[in-house]
């Protein structure tokens, strides 16, 4: 059977450089929220914003450097699919929180 590397894998391939860049960025973005929580140097509000921002950026780093999502034509449908999923997720999570907090308020 053919053992040659497959050419068309649907998305781009990544290189040693991209994985290592992603690794270093992910380490930094993991260290920031842990340090903020462990040191207790910031107010809870600032810490929550810090955790949330670092999390979002780290997810983007993983999508780009590990799952190879970019603006290339090979990844276009993958990007469209995840954007649509993101829309559904926002409706699910936002809608759930909205309805349940409203219900909670009215039951009080």
């Amino acid at each position: 059977m053919n053992q040659a590397p497959i050419d068309n894998i649907g998305i781009s391939r990544g290189s040693l450089k991209s994985y290592l860049t992603g690794f270093v960025l992910a380490l930094i973005l993991t260290a920031i929220p842990f340090a903020m929580v462990m040191s207790r140097a910031f107010s809870p509000g600032v810490t929550l914003i810090g955790i949330f921002s670092a999390g979002v950026v780290q997810i983007l780093v993983h999508l780009h450097y590990f799952l190879h999502l970019d603006t290339s034509s090979a990844a276009r449908w993958n990007v469209l699919a995840i954007l649509f999923t993101l829309l559904i997720m926002i409706i699910f999570v936002g809608g759930t929180l909205w309805i349940m907090s409203n219900l909670n308020y009215r039951m009080m």
């Binding site: 590397p5 050419d7 998305i11 990544g14 999508l63 449908w77 993958n78 559904i88 699910f92 759930t96």
Partner: protein, 204 residues
Amino acid sequence: MTPDATAISATYRAEVAHPDTVAMQTFGFWIYLMSDLIIFATLFATFAVFSRSYAGGPTGKELVDLTYLLGETLFLLCSSVTYGLVMLAVHRGKKKWVLLGLVVTFLLGLGFVSMEIHEFYGLVAKGYGPDRSAFLSSFFTLVGTHGTHVTFGLIWMAVMMGQVAVKGLTSPVQSRLMRLSMFWHFLDLIWIGIFSIVYLMGVV
């Protein structure tokens, strides 16, 4: 009209030989991952609703050991990177490096699952099982679903080690390794949401 077996097998071979087959399989698997993402979104929404429903039981602050959590996080992150290196070895056709990388990734993933099982065991032993409060029910469901995914990823990885060792890096094996890489990176991505929202935000 009954389709005859040779015709089916010929069609199958033609499909396998088609230059876009792997790209289509990759995209199909991506769609599966998106549906999995929606499962996690609903579990995150449930957790968010119950995140303060302690029912007199323990709060997030009392349960989370940050150093332990950092250990779990690093195990999973490192395994994600080593799997990336496995894929680089696959594209270069280096079978021995692929196997070595899979073993390292497997052990790191096993480290993560073992730590999580130990954590769950400790909680249940203290009487803080999923039956204690709505907060703990949603906690165990969300984190447990992720842990189950990682466990199945490990089983898949063990099977792929066997396939690489026995069959070598054939096109179907490469294609499966590609999909496992997406699954594995995806699970690390979900973990970012879990350690940020469930653990860190629960401690603040």
